[in-house]
């Protein structure tokens, strides 16, 4: 039950990250999506992959995306 609920939450977060107009909010929603995916990996008996998912994607990926957003601009489609 909780597994299907987490899959639903992950899908909703992925759609929200694509649809967000502000790039910084999209990056933060993507970080939340990575945490949910890490919990899904843990429930599927792969704690090693869950640790790597949290540490690499949710921490370093978010940092690199924030640096990229800081250089290119927050609004979508406006130069």
């Amino acid at each position: 039950m909780i597994f299907e609920l987490l899959l639903l939450v992950a899908t909703i977060l992925a759609i929200a990250a694509v649809e967000a107009k502000d790039m910084l909010y999209a990056v933060l929603i993507l970080g939340g999506l990575d945490l949910v995916v890490a919990v899904i990996f843990y429930l599927m008996a792969a704690p090693d992959i869950a640790i790597t998912q949290i540490v690499v994607t949710a921490v370093f990926g978010t940092f690199i995306y924030v640096v990229a957003v800081n250089r290119t601009g927050r609004k979508e489609g406006i130069e």
């Binding site: 640790i51 790597t52 540490v55 800081n70």
Partner: protein, 140 residues
């Protein structure tokens, strides 16, 4: 950044580093290993870079020293592998199974691999953030 973030960073950075060494040293008996432990060690530096200014960070970390650390740890990793291949030290007799001191030389491989990964990621983060510090209109 303000005083709350600086104080929290001063408290959290040693704990994050201890947790990174814990994950990398227990890599052969529990989930984790050299790579996640090294990235946790580097994320402590990430928090430091976000909270403090350029001078305060460079007082404790210099990029050349971290590059030297990466080279030394890489040579140590190569030395351990060559020691295993050439000399074949039989240290499994000295160890007790299912404890921390088990698994041959895997614990040293995990430790030096964590140091290599951490110093490489610190160099990447440092070169990214230095560009942000250089540009005047940046918010950092």
């Amino acid at each position: 950044m303000d005083a709350i973030i600086k104080t929290t960073t001063r408290l959290l950075v040693p704990l994050i580093m201890v947790f990174g060494f814990y994950v990398s040293l227990h890599g052969h008996i529990s989930p984790g290993g050299g790579f996640p432990g090294g990235v946790i060690l580097a994320s402590a530096f990430l928090l430091l870079v976000i909270a403090f200014t350029e001078k305060e960070v460079e007082k404790h970390f210099s990029e050349i020293k971290i590059g030297d650390l990466k080279s030394v740890a890489s040579i140590a990793l190569l030395g351990i592998v060559l020691l295993e291949v050439i000399v074949r030290p039989d240290i499994l007799h000295l160890q007790t199974p299912l404890t921390l001191w088990s698994g041959g030389v895997t614990i040293f491989l995990n430790l030096f691999g964590a140091i290599v990964v951490a110093s490489g990621l610190v160099i990447i983060v440092y070169s990214l953030v230095k560009e942000e510090w250089k540009s005047k209109k940046s918010k950092w």
